[in-house]
């Protein structure tokens, strides 16, 4: 039984690596509850999980690649008749080389799964104070009607600090509403209402694109999200109400979103 060979040590050490983040996570505080999300936007949360996942796969990949490259360099054929000398594994070692790696892979999977589960709950639970915007996708236009009744095409104007939930439907084919800055995508389709929510936390403009192929002008189907400060937003609403006299009950409509 030659299980004490170099290979087993090296590869065993490599495979133990996913354990480190798993253990680190296990000793952290209990998983976040919804109360803990206060003040933390889903896209910041997304960025954090993304970076952790990137580190996870980078470490795995680099270690794995280094070991393989080392083997490929060390074990170059010396003479014409040389044959490989892979040690015969004992039955226990054969089983061990299946069970232990699988447990380690599973450990890393579970570690990432817990992170993803937590983020999923954050991104798929709408805060109670969110305002609602109705989104209709069509070839090749984004139409937004917000809680004030303001109807715009390809421009979504929101207020910093207030969560926004988009209720979306498509007039024709599949579209997918993606907001670059807020890391959130959801498809639009005829016959179903889908939704996504986001938290504008800073003033500024960001891009909306379509993420589901929708024909000739798919790449022309883009727009802007404008996040305005409270004062700017109120001015914007007043200006819209003045220019569109048919819109009535501007002030009362804002509260309908609370019913979500």
């Amino acid at each position: 039984m030659k299980v004490k060979s170099l290979m087993h040590k090296v590869m065993g050490a490599m495979l133990a690596l996913p354990l480190i983040p798993s253990l680190a996570h296990a000793f952290q505080a209990a998983p976040a509850t919804r109360a803990d999300y206060n003040g933390w936007t889903p896209h910041e949360h997304w960025d954090e999980v993304w970076h952790e996942t990137m580190w996870d796969i980078t470490i795995l990949g680099v270690v794995f690649a280094i070991i393989t490259i080392a083997f490929m360099v060390i074990y170059v054929r010396k003479g014409h008749g040389e044959r490989g000398k892979l040690p015969q594994l004992s039955p226990q070692a054969k089983l061990g080389w299946v069970v232990i790696p699988c447990m380690l892979f599973l450990g890393d999977d579970l570690f990432l799964y817990v992170k993803g589960f937590d983020l999923h709950n954050h991104m798929r639970n709408v805060p109670t104070n969110a305002v609602e915007v109705k989104v209709t996708g069509s070839m090749w236009n984004w139409n937004y009607v917000d809680a004030n009744g303001i109807d715009t095409d390809n421009e979504l104007v929101v207020k910093v600090g207030t969560p926004v939930v988009l209720r979306m439907v498509s007039d024709d084919v599949l579209h997918s509403h993606y907001m670059n800055r807020y890391r959130v995508t959801e498809d639009l389709m005829p016959g179903r209402i889908t939704w996504e929510w986001f938290m504008p936390n800073e003033e500024g403009e960001s891009v909306v694109t379509c993420r589901e192929y929708c024909g000739t002008m798919h790449s022309g189907m883009y727009g802007t999200v404008k996040a305005l400060s409270e004062a700017d937003y109120d001015a914007y609403v007043a200006e819209q109400a003045a220019s569109v006299p048919s819109v009535t009950g501007v002030a009362s409509a804002a509260t309908t979103a609370d019913k979500i």
């Binding site: 892979f105 991104m123 022309g220």
Partner: protein
């Protein structure tokens, strides 16, 4: 039994001479070559489409076309032809037909006539798909064909799409039945299930997956045609249908289809790694079981293609977990590939260069798949260049390099000649570097939000990451394009004017296609039926007993 097989093993040796013999052949090796020619032709067409798109994306604004319909036609042709015309036929056509029967010591496929039907169905499908470039209402609904767009008039000819998929699917199903029977019943005397090369195991498993799932795909696209032309409403919400039904049916096949491509090309890597290192495959039996484990694991992951498609949240979370589980059998395969190098005696042949390139592409491609499995991460990168870069690394580039490695590996057995070694290695290095420059920067563009299937990106014109990624990617295209072109030249040169083989086993393999056949295997493959002695193993490079031959009834010796 030989009469049932369609032809006697003592037929004419060598390859067919006349056009008629080529076309009406029932010989699995010639049929394999037909598959290969179809696959390479498809690779050229789809590669040209990719190049055109890459040039268009080189800078912001129109570069070579401003017509969205033309761009979308290239895009549709690139995806559909690469997957259905190049990769699946190269692996489940060429490798399955040419290599597998010889590797298991059989004289042909189990059903040679069915085999001929499969290959000509493939060619019909490819020709029909190419019609899309000339017909007036060309189909531009992508290889995925999602309704409701594929039910509109704007998409073009949906019937053509359905027909191509169904014809290629029939070819696959016939091929899969044939190959499964070949592996089960045509193995030579003495060869047990755990004495088969891993290539055989991988191709066999891939075909089992095909048999289970292809009918679902055929149904999903047939329903498209019924909806569009006969007014059925399977996918039409106005009459009670559901557009999501299609996505569920389509990905129920099309995610397992990823493993239909992955497994055989990893099989090629196992073969080349073991032969080049002259080493046993690490933990062979466990590796075989890992390959088999792909069948159940791959069947329950399709929702990860529809994380943002309005499916219930509990389903997304459930399938996040089942998707992550793929890392178990896949990780074991990667471990075995690396383990096969351990204490090996590695010889860096031309095919090995391509295989090593494929292996490192596979590491990148596989690991970049892990974030995509998390439903919550997918909300930020769904249908972006992150996804596009990931599946090009894992399927397109790694798969393509492994296929080319296989072609170089079996090339001496196909033609009796060797390819130029230096040029084989040079093209491998060029292709590897080129494709990394094409696909690497695009991953970062995806992180910045660049969506897939956009012909232009003026909305990101002031995003330096996206603009420079697109620019570098287009530079990478030139390197890749020249390498791929040179590779084809190397094949043609090798086939016509390459150095003649003097050795039937140029790489030092222990597998039967090299040790028990002539330089170019004749009809019936083996001079007389081959017997694997007890203890024979395809990866025993130290004291493997030599295959034995049983005199064919009525004959005293071989033909060669």
């Amino acid at each position: 039994m030989s009469g049932f097989m369609g032809h006697e093993p003592d037929g004419k040796p060598g390859q067919p001479k006349t056009v008629k013999e080529w076309v009406f052949t029932l010989d699995h090796k010639v049929i394999g070559v037909w598959y290969l020619i179809g696959a390479i032709a498809s690779f050229v067409v789809a590669g040209l489409a990719a190049s055109a798109m890459r040039l268009e994306l080189g800078s912001v604004g129109p570069d070579i076309t401003d017509n969205g319909d033309i761009y979308n036609l290239w895009l549709t042709m690139h995806g559909a032809v690469m997957i259905l015309g190049f990769q699946i036929p190269a692996l489940l056509g060429f490798v399955a037909n040419w290599a597998v029967p010889i590797m298991v010591g059989g004289k042909d496929m189990a059903f040679p006539r069915v085999n001929a039907m499969s290959v000509w169905l493939l060619w019909s499908g490819i020709l029909l798909a190419l019609m899309n470039l000339v017909i007036p209402d060309s189909y531009n609904g992508m290889w995925t064909g999602y309704p409701p767009y594929s039910l509109t008039d704007a998409v073009g000819n949906t019937a053509l799409y359905s027909s191509v998929v169904v014809i290629l699917g029939m070819s696959s199903v016939f091929g899969a039945v044939n190959l499964a029977c070949t592996v089960a019943f045509m193995r030579c005397k003495g060869m047990g299930w755990f004495q088969m090369p891993l290539t055989v195991w991988c191709v066999f498993t891939a075909n089992v997956i095909q048999l289970i799932f292809v009918p679902v795909l055929a149904a999903s696209v047939l329903l498209l045609s019924l909806d569009k032309y006969l007014g059925f409403g399977f996918y039409n919400p106005e009459v009670g249908g559901d557009v999501l039904l299609y996505q569920n049916l389509f990905w129920f096949y099309s995610h397992p289809a990823v493993y239909v491509i992955l497994l055989p090309f990893m099989g090629i890597l196992f073969e080349i790694f073991a032969v080049s290192a002259r080493n046993d495959v690490f933990n062979y039996k466990a590796t075989v079981w890992s390959v088999i484990a792909f069948i159940p694991v791959s069947s329950d992951v399709w929702v990860h293609h529809a994380y943002v498609a309005g499916l219930p949240d509990w389903l997304r979370l459930l399938q996040t977990f089942t998707t992550l589980l793929i890392s178990l059998p896949f990780g074991l395969l990667m471990l075995s590939l690396t383990g096969t190098m351990y204490r090996g005696a590695i010889r860096y042949t031309g095919p090995m260069y391509w295989a090593v390139g494929a292996f490192f592409m596979l590491i990148i491609g596989a690991l970049t798949g892990i974030p995509n499995a998390l439903s919550a991460i997918d909300y930020g990168i769904s249908d972006s260049y992150v996804i596009m870069s990931h599946f090009h690394y894992v399927m397109a580039v790694s798969g393509g390099m492994a296929i080319f490695a296989g072609v170089f590996f079996w090339f001496p057995k196909l033609t009796g000649r060797m390819c130029n070694t230096f040029m084989t290695k040079l093209t491998a290095v060029g292709f590897f570097i080129g494709m990394n420059i094409v696909m690497g920067p695009l991953y970062f563009a995806g992180m910045e939000g660049m969506p897939r299937r956009y012909m232009d990106y003026q909305m990101f014109a002031d995003n330096a990451t996206i603009v420079s990624a697109q620019h570098w990617s287009t530079i990478g295209l030139y390197i890749t394009f020249v390498s791929a072109l040179l590779m084809i030249v190397v094949w043609l040169h090798g086939a016509i004017a390459g150095e003649k083989c003097t050795n039937a086993n140029p790489w030092g393999s222990e597998s039967l296609e090299f040790t028990a056949t002539a330089i170019i295997p004749g009809q019936g493959n083996f001079p007389t039926p081959v017997i694997c002695p007890e203890g024979w193993h395809p990866y025993n490079f130290i004291d493997n007993p030599k295959p034995e031959f049983e005199p064919h009834p009525g004959h005293t010796g071989g033909h060669h």
